[in-house]
Structures are given as C-alpha cells and as structure tokens.
Subunit: 690 residues, 2 copies
C-alpha cells in the first residue's frame, strides 16, 4: 500500500468521519493489538502460541517506525528492512539527472559506499508507560467538556516534556480507546540513515498502479537502510533473525507495525452516511478528476509530465474508495455492525441515564447531510495550489489581528509555523495544471450548488468555468513566494487593496466558506466528538482492554495464518513464485508497468523460478503498516508487508475475515533476488549471519 497516499485519502474521509480510537469484540485473526496487551488467549487457543514478555519486548525493540510507516532491524549493525515505496522519497532525493537510483536501483557492498539520506528518520520504541490515571485525573469534576479537554491536553504535554527531559527520548502520549486509556510511548530517534540497497522501481512496483491493491502480485518491494550513530553503524541489541525456510500455507504469520487510523467504532448511521453520501461524492469526484487529468495529460509531453504525480494520487484515492465502497455496500457488513451496536446500546441503556449518543449522532448526520455537498464543493474550490493559498492569506489577515485563542485553529500561535511552511513553500506551480484544477473545481461548484446560485455567480463572474479559470490564473501573482510573503506581511490593508484575481475570489467567498465551516463544527463535529467519547466509554465499560483499540499510528501486533481467499467463486492461492513474474511480463509486453529491469532479464536463467515471491495472510493491517516485518513464532522474518488486497481497504470500518488479506514480500524471495539478481553477497551474509 502507498502509505502516504492512503493516509491522504483517509484525510479526505476525515472531513466526514473523524478518526476515533475505539474497540470492538474481535473475531479470531482480527485486530491491531497493543504490545502491552496481546491477545494471549486467542493465540494460545487458536495457534498454541504463548509469547513471553521477553519475546514481546524483543519484537517491540526490533520493529521500527520509518517516517510515517514501518520497518524492522535485521542485523546487530543497524540494518533496517522496509519497503522500497516507503523509502522511495529518500531514494529519490539521492538521485540526480546522471544517477537515477529510482529507475536504476542501488547497492552498497561496503559501509563506505552507503549513501546518507536527507530528511529520513527512524524511531525505535524503547518504553511504554501507562499514564491513564494522571491524564484522567487532570480533568476535575465541575469542568465543562472543553475545559476538561484542555486540562487533559495540558497534562499530556507536561508528561511528555518531563519524560523527554528525564530520558532524552522522544515521547508522545497516545490516546487509546478514544480516551479509555492513555499510554506514553518513548522513542529513540535516529536521523543519520543511509541507503544500503534498493532494487529498480520496475522490480519493486512491478505492475505499477494497474496491480496496486490487486493479487496475485509480483513485487520486489523491499529496500535496506542502515542506522548510524555518531558516524558509525548502530550497535543494536535487538534485531530480527531471518527465516531461510519461510512460511507455508496455513502457518501463523505475526505482523508488527504502525497502522495509521481506523474508524471501527463508527455508528451504523455514520457508516450509512459514508456509504450513501460521502463515498459516492468523493468517489465520483475522484473519478471525474482522473478522467479530466487523463485528458489533460494527453495534450502534450509537457502536460503528461506535469500531470504524473497528481493523477497517481487521484487514482490511488479512487482505488481506495472503491475498496471502501465495495465493503460498505455489502449488506453483511451492516448486519454484523448492527448486531454489535444493538448489544452495545443495550448495555449503555442499562448503565446510564444520559442522552443516547447513537441518537445524537443520527441527528448530527441528518443536519450535516443538509450542507455536506456545498461544504465539500466550496472546500474543493479552494484546494488547488494557488486558490488554497489565496484563502489562507485572506483569512490570515483577519485572524492574526485577533488574540491567538480566538483564532481559527490553524492560525493559533502553535500552529502558525507549519501553516507558514505550507504557505511559503517554494514548490513550483504549473499554470496549465492550475487552470485545469480551477476549471474542474469551478465546474464542480456549479454542479453542486446549481448554476444560478449566488455563490456560483460570484465564483464564475459571468464566464464559463474554463474561461474563468484562465482569467483567474492569468490575473494572479501568487505563484511568487515573494508576493505571498508581501501579502502576508501587509496584513488586512494589503489584502483589501490587492487587485490579485485569486485574492479577490477568496475575499468574495470567505464569508460563505466560514459560515459552512461554523455549521460543520457546531452541528456535526462537536456532537460527534462527544458522542463517540460516550460510546467509547460504554464500550470500554463493557469490554475493558480485552479488545484492541482503533489504530493510532502506534506500534501494534496483528496475526493470522498464511491463507488465500475466494473471489467470484475462484480460490486465490496464497503464494506467487518468481516464474509468475516472468510470465506476467510476457503477457503484458509493451506496457511500461510490466517492463522488467535488464538485471532481471539477464538473471532469468540463474533464478530458481519456484521461489515463493509474494504471499497473503490474514493479519489485520491498514495504511501505515507498509514495511512491517512478518515473523513466525520464533520471531524470524518470513516476510515484509507491502500492500493489502482491495478488501483490506474497508478494514478502515470493519474487518472481514472472509476476504481481508495482507500482501507481503516473501523472505525467501528477498534472499534469492539479492543473491542471483543483484549479487549482493555481503548484504545476504549480514542478514543470514547467526
């Protein structure tokens, strides 16, 4: 899975459904479990496996957080295994016109050859401390909900600071079970990270976007980095050893990684809202944009180049939402959810006299449905590179004139640095893409509001969407960072006297946009926060920590056997083999996504084509798990998570054991390809050393 993209997709969805940390009664193999509270009974009962505390600690300190995704230490010398796509940005930054490491791959036979990566951070989780009592007790009786929230926030910050000062570690309070528990996670941070090995992009992402989320797959989506400390390779106590035997069909596969966010506590009404309103809207917009961008890119080689990154994000979002909708439109998911909700509501009604949070959610959703499309269309209008900055500048002039605590949250003093980083980013803006974006967004605004609505009349200024987009982009100087700085520093006066076309557009529509935002926050968001907190309380009261909390980007363990699934009456086998990659390359000859690197063509004869290449297992993962090690009960690496199938996507809302599968690179394949394609003998020796 493409972590960053999946996470961005999740953000779109968050407009409708805030990430809620929550739990539900888990069926076997479901769950992203806390390492402090693994499902010991289930593991023992189903698999006869009883992990010791030492085993769990060893896994905790061998698994790493790699940027926003996952990885693992696989030698005592700081060697880190993760996905090629997780390390892709770092590899890209090491590339230049003459030396394209993305296309051509890289191998450092000795540490001296390893390349230092910019902006790359690896964290190892050293300690987990339960701070529930201290955080909870910060909120005193008699405080309002917002006062209590503020008190808890202050307590969390204090805990983090104290611990950082005491240990020198990077510390973070993680809210679990939507406030049922608070744990302090303390990381050792490493910022000197060097590239050891990367295959060619065409091997790592064989099948490209066509095969993404699909299975059978044939991806060499792995890469190796090394952590350095004080200029020397890290000497680490904990690391995973390698399984040369790999796994068989049915073997237990344990996954340790950082799932980003799930929404499994969502009420049935909320899921219906996502299925019937949010999903169709987002999906049809993504599809519209994908078709438009395809047309845009067809216009010239330059258009094609400029549109590449964008269309990949859009297509990946479309695939993700197709997966969500595929699951949400399955009545069986709703049957199970309704059943679980019925049970929880029964327990809630028995134990409490306050107003039913499920009813409060229903009412809030009904209210939100009234302006959902308008809010999304207007947000969308101000989502392009320049229009978004225009709105930021217009609002900034108003907001900075107020005391910090009265401002919109993204303009408060604590948030300003990251806001300014985005506002003044020197990232280039392409006029032709900006015109295409604006034309599309103006047209969408008119679709949603209707062509005669005053908001649309203002936005179009008497022109067609495309003509207006051309006029707006021709009439703005916001592509210049200097001009944006000038306007930001000039405050209200500079904004009011500006004749910039996009500043004018933002001035005209800010009131409408703010009014929709206020409605959203008052009528939906605040109700949602409280209702889900109450529901989480009810669930925690009923089940305690015998179940797992929703994903929160913190380290979790998932488990389940290596196993295929049934699709359209056909059984999908769990393993693919190297030979299948060559067959597929031949079948899809002529398509760039399926073009094998020369190294693979040269090595074909010397490879064992029966070597297992990728496999699927039942462990429960989500975006953020990319790069997670898959281990056997001896803690040996048997694979490397790099994707899930299309049914994994709806796992954001519910785990379906019939079809939800994790896709991993097989450990045996990594060794076979390092040896026989890349001749990376010293790396193989390091990995396999006892």
């Amino acid at each position: 899975m493409k972590t960053t993209t999946l996470l961005r997709v999740a953000v779109i969805g968050l407009c409708a459904s805030l990430s809620i940390e929550a739990s539900r009664t888990a069926s076997a193999d479901e769950g992203m479990w806390l390492l402090t509270n693994p499902p010991r009974d289930l593991l023992k009962q189903e698999y006869g496996f009883e992990p010791t505390d030492e085993w769990m600690e060893h896994m905790q300190k061998s698994a790493v957080r790699f940027g926003g995704a996952s990885g693992s230490l696989v030698s005592p010398n700081g060697l880190v295994l993760t996905n090629h796509h997780v390390g892709r940005s770092a590899i890209g930054k090491l590339s230049s016109g003459e030396r394209d490491l993305i296309a051509g791959g890289f191998y450092a036979p000795t540490p001296a050859d390893e390349l230092e990566c910019a902006d790359t951070e690896v964290r190892v989780l050293m300690e987990i401390i339960d701070v529930t009592e201290r955080v909870k007790s910060a909120a005193e009786p008699g405080m309002s909900a917002s006062e209590a929230g503020e008190a808890r926030r202050r307590a969390k910050t204090a805990i983090e600071q104290e611990q950082e000062e005491a240990t020198g570690l990077n510390c973070q309070v993680v809210t679990l079970y939507n406030g049922g528990q608070y744990h302090l996670y303390c990381y050792k941070r490493y910022t000197d990270v060097r590239l050891v090995f990367a295959p060619e992009q065409n091997a790592a992402a064989f099948g490209g976007d066509i095969d993404n989320f699909d299975y059978p797959r044939y991806c060499a989506d792995y890469a190796f980095f090394r952590i350095y400390e004080d200029g020397e390779p890290l000497r680490n106590e904990h690391y995973l050893s390698w399984s040369e035997a790999g796994a068989d069909d049915g073997d237990l596969a344990l996954i340790f990684g950082h799932p980003g966010s799930t929404n499994r506590l969502n009420t049935v009404a909320h899921l219906e809202f996502t299925r019937d309103i949010v999903g169709p809207t987002i999906l049809s917009w993504l599809m519209k944009r994908e078709v438009e961008l395809t047309a845009f890119m067809g216009r010239s080689a330059e258009h094609n180049r400029i549109g590449q990154t964008r269309i990949k994000g859009v297509a990946n979002g479309r695939k993700a939402w197709t997966g969500y909708m595929g699951g949400l439109q399955d009545p069986e998911l709703f049957r199970q959810k309704s059943e679980a909700e019925r049970r929880l509501r029964a327990s809630y009604e028995n134990g409490s006299s306050s107003q039913d949070p499920w009813v409060r959610m229903e009412e809030a959703l009904d209210s939100y449905a009234e302006f959902y499309h308008e809010r999304m269309a207007l947000n969308n209008l101000f989502s392009s590179a320049l229009a978004s900055r225009a709105l930021t500048l217009v609002r900034m002039a108003d907001e900075l004139a107020k005391p910090s605590e009265d401002r919109l949250r993204e303009f408060r003093d604590t948030a300003l640095p990251s806001m300014e980083r985005r506002l003044f980013s020197p990232q280039p803006v392409y006029d032709i893409l900006e015109v295409d974006d604006m034309a599309s967004n103006l047209s969408m605004l008119a679709w949603v509001y209707g062509g005669d609505h005053p908001v649309v009349r203002k936005a179009l200024g008497g022109k067609s969407p495309r003509a207006r987009a051309e006029e707006l982009v021709a009439g703005t100087r916001l592509a210049s960072v200097d001009e944006r700085r000038r306007l930001a520093e000039g405050g209200r006066e500079a904004i009011e006297s500006s004749d910039d076309s996009l500043i004018g557009l933002a001035r005209m529509l800010d009131a409408e946009s703010r009014s929709l935002r206020t409605r959203y926050e008052d009528e939906f968001e605040s109700v949602q926060t409280e209702a889900y907190s109450d529901i989480a309380d009810a669930k925690f009261a009923l089940e305690g920590d015998s179940v797992y909390p929703d994903a929160t980007s913190s380290l979790r363990m998932s488990y389940g056997p290596v196993r295929g699934w049934s699709e359209g009456g056909e059984m999908i086998a769990p393993f693919t083999v190297i030979g299948g990659m060559f067959e597929r390359a031949e079948l899809r000859a002529g398509e760039p996504e399926f073009e094998l690197p020369q190294s693979w063509i040269d090595a074909e004869a010397s490879l064992d084509k029966n070597t297992p290449m990728n496999f699927v297992s039942m462990g429960d993962v989500i975006g953020g798990n990319s790069g997670s090690p898959v281990v056997n009960t001896d803690g040996e690496v048997i694979g490397l998570v790099f994707d899930g199938n299309l049914h994994m996507l709806v796992g954001r809302y519910a785990y379906d054991e019939r079809t939800n599968r994790t896709i991993s690179v097989d450990a045996r394949f990594i060794i076979e390809s390092l040896k026989n394609v890349y001749k990376a003998d010293s790396l193989v020796d390091e990995i396999l050393a006892e």
Copy 2:
C-alpha cells in the same frame, strides 16, 4: 465527429429532453437551413452570394445521405465522397483475418477491383413537397390532442404510401418547426454500394480518441465509395466538381448535410435542468464507467480486447457531455437564451389566453426532478446486455397478452419486429464484461437510492454489488439465443416458472420500474410534448419560416466563413498543414494513436508539407453532418466535414458564434495524399475530370 456515437449520446440526453423541432432568431452564420428556404437575405447581405433555384437543386441532388450520416456525389459515375469513420462499419465488414482493410486501407484502381459492401445504403433526395395543409387538416376541430396526433400520423402514413406507389421513391414526411410545417422528402435509394478507396485507420483517425473534438487536427478522414445500379456504375446527372484552389481564411464555406437533432427550443428552465441535474448525473456516471472500464481492461489482454468498443463509446459520450456542460455552464449562453425567451413569452402572452407553456414546463421539471435519479439508476440497472433482455422478456410475457394498442409502445405490433431483432441478436455476450457492468450498475443503484432502500435490498439479495453480479451472471442462461426464444415463446408461464437469476431480478423490480416509467410519461413527457408544441406555435406565429427549424436528420444547408477562434487568450489558426502531422507524430512517438502508417512514412519526402490538411469554419453542424461536402459559391468541393470542436457540442442547445467551429478535411489535402501517398491516379483523374 463519430456520428453513431454522438447519436447514441444524444439518446441518453433524450431521457430528459425530447428532440424538438424548432427555430430561433438566427444570428449571422447560425442555422441549419432548409434547402427549400435558404437564408437568401443573409447570404446576399453578408457575402454577396445569391444562389439560384438551379444551384440549390444541383446541391440537393449532389448531396447524399450515407447511412445515418452524410456524403456527396463527386463524379458522373456514381463516385461518393464521405468520411472514413462514416464508412468504417462497411469497410470493417469487408475485412477478414488475412485482409484488414481498417488497418491497411484499400484502393481499387479499376471498377473491377471495387468491393461490394453489405448493409450499406445511399439515398439521394429527389423531391421535396410541402404537405403542411393536408397533414394539418387531418386534425379536425373537437378532437382531443391525442386523437389529433393519431389523425396526423395516419395522414402522414397515407401521404408516404401514395407517393411511394406513384414514384417508386422512398418517401418520408418530415415534421418541421415542431409541427409548424410538414414536408415530404422523396429519396432514391441505392443499396449496391462498393468500396473504392479507404486510407489506413491510423491516417484517417490520426490522434484517435485523444484528439477527437480537438483542434488543431491532422486527420485523413475521407473515403470513396461508388453507387451501382443494375450492376453498372450509376450514371448521375448531378455531382460536385472539385476545387483545386481550395479555400482561404475568411472565404465563405457552404455545408450540405444531415444534422441529426438539436434542442434549441428548450426553455431556460429545461436548460437549467440539463445543466444542474441531467448533465452532472450523466457525466459523472460516464466518468465512473470510464475509470472502471480502464481498470477492467488493465486486468489482462483478453479484458483489454473485450472492453475496447465499450470504452470508446463511453469516452466519446464523456467528451460530448463535457462539451455540453462547458457551454451550459457559461452564463452568457443563459443570458442570450433568457433574452430570447423573454421576447417570445411577451408575444405569446399578448396573443393567447391559454395557460403559459413555460410555466407548465417548469412545473413538469420540478416534478421530474423528484424521481429523475431513481428512474435513471433503475433504467441503468437494466441496461447491460443480459439484464436488458431479461426485463424485455418479463415485460413481453405481460404485454403480448394485451391487445396491441394497450401495450407499452415498444411491444405494439408495428414495433415488435425491431424489438425481436434486438432480443434475439446473436451478438456475443462476454461474461466478464457483463459481471463488470452489473456490478457497476448495482453499485450505482445503491448510490442513488441509498443502501437500505427496499429496491436496493431486493437487487442485492444480501450480497455486495460485485458478489451479486457474479451470482447473477453465473445463474443466467440468457446468453443463449435459444433460451431467450424459449422464454419469449413460453409466455407468462415460462417466465413465472423460470429459475433464471436475471429473469428473477427483472420480475422483482419490474413493478418499480414500470411505476417510474408511468410517472415520467404522465408527469413529464406528456406535458413536455404539449408545452413545446405550444411554444413552437408561438414562435412560428411570430417568425414564420424566416428562421430555420431544429435539426431532424433531413438535408440542410449551413454556411459561414473559414475562420479560427480564440481559446484561453490564444488564437487558433483555421488551417493545419501536412507537415504538422509529421511533427505531431514525432512529438507523440510511442503512443499508438499517433503512429503513422508505413505508407506515410515512405511518402514523407515526396509530399508538399505546406498543403493545407484540415480547416475550421463557422458553419453550424451537429452529429449526422459527418461526411457533408463543404463547397464554395461555385458549388465546388473545398472540404469534407468530419468533426466539430468541443464548443460545437453545446450547439445542440445554442450556437455560439465566438467558438462553435466545424472541422473539415481540406480538398487539396485529399488530392495531395491520393497522388503522393496512395498513388491513386485513376481516382484523382476521375475526381478532377471536367
């Protein structure tokens, strides 16, 4: 333009806006004029051109109707010029595995080499008779609207039959000005049509779907056929001579062809409905299907082959609706339409006391808006190859039990043969495509109705859309023509006892579908028919035949100068030259749409690269005009219409002289390429002979 596809797209739109024959006050260069009533004053005033009656008759008998599109006679020996894409189906039927005339092209140096085309018909319009009085007088005072309609229909059939018997010609009463006039068009039909010359598909459609509706263009979209009579080439008195000098920028270009259908009489409220409801719905559905089909086709070479035809239709529809929406979302179009409507309503209110038809339309549209999406989604569910037949069979069992006049119109005795032709067509059905269609349509049904609606519950049967689609396709035998015949012949009993999955689906949902159909017919269609008839009367009363009627697939003349237009501040020049084609092929190297045939690569050195290749002019065209000759005031061929730009599309609703342009192949290019690429000397000699 792709006539057939454009016509099919139009049909989708007709769900919301019936084709209305109508007129509006024409601005210069606007209009699809009757040959019996050309805009003599405008032509004289603007261009100093005064066509004689003989000139008009010569054009009428030189222009031909080629299938559903246009063409012209260009020699005294039955030689017909039309587009390659108009003749494509005929050329395809002459192809075989060994001899692919689509890909490889064809040239018959002598009549003996010419190839007889199956199912190809060319018609020459011999006579036009005004039968307005006789048709109108058939409706007697005191008759109800439907009785009057029936009386007029009977009168038209009688007129057609009498004239066919008297002349042996193929006769057809054409309703003009929505009933303001009735003209009898008498055609001489020719069915022995032979292929003389076709270029390679890659030359004819250079740029493929990427460039369709775009400009600048470089298409050799022409072909030559020959009409035979009694086994000999036709000896025809009328034919067009060829202009070796061609046209210059600004020269008057006259177009004679068969525009299919326009809706320029639509009320402002109806256009708003199209802009705000129909357009966004159809366009987002087409885009959804395009993205899904692209994913489908990516799965294997077989999927790719099976999806080709379908995705072309969908992409073409998407381009067309993008064009409509681009125009409809332009406030200027509404300003002009509102102004014209205001004038007409003023004249109507002055002259009549009956209820205002504009208000009646508004009310009907409000009513239609309440169930528009449901109706479309349910129709869509029964639009796939097998589901559509299932619904037909279920309804047929009910309908055939009634007297003909009580049946749904498509089951009346007169309509049955064509219904049965579709029902029993042996055209192959691909299971995997049918599953993909059904899954998409079930998912759309759930989007529109909401996942918990009883209709959706019935349709899904407790499964996800894809699982249900797989189940339905696995459980039907309707792919077999024999099984369809068995069910059709078995009547109600066979249908009721059938355990076929799709018959079951159709049985379950027919009542809902019929109820929406009845609502549509009662609340919208019938009101629309009467309201537009009243509006047409008002318009005819005000303006008479000083204006042109809406397009009706009958022969029309359009006119306007060769002229470029301004797009995004950039002037688009009217002519392209041969050299541009080679440049574009180089720029887009590697894309199959831009791959030049070998004959062109071989001929490059011998071609005059400055020869004008394609050009744009202001003449008003629409789908059906493909293949129309473009002539100068001497009646000489200067070009051949093959497409319009994207702004032409909204011409269905309104002509915008700023941007609406017809795209033609230049007559000089046809000669240059026949001589120097195809060495078609005898064909050139025939065309240029005096």
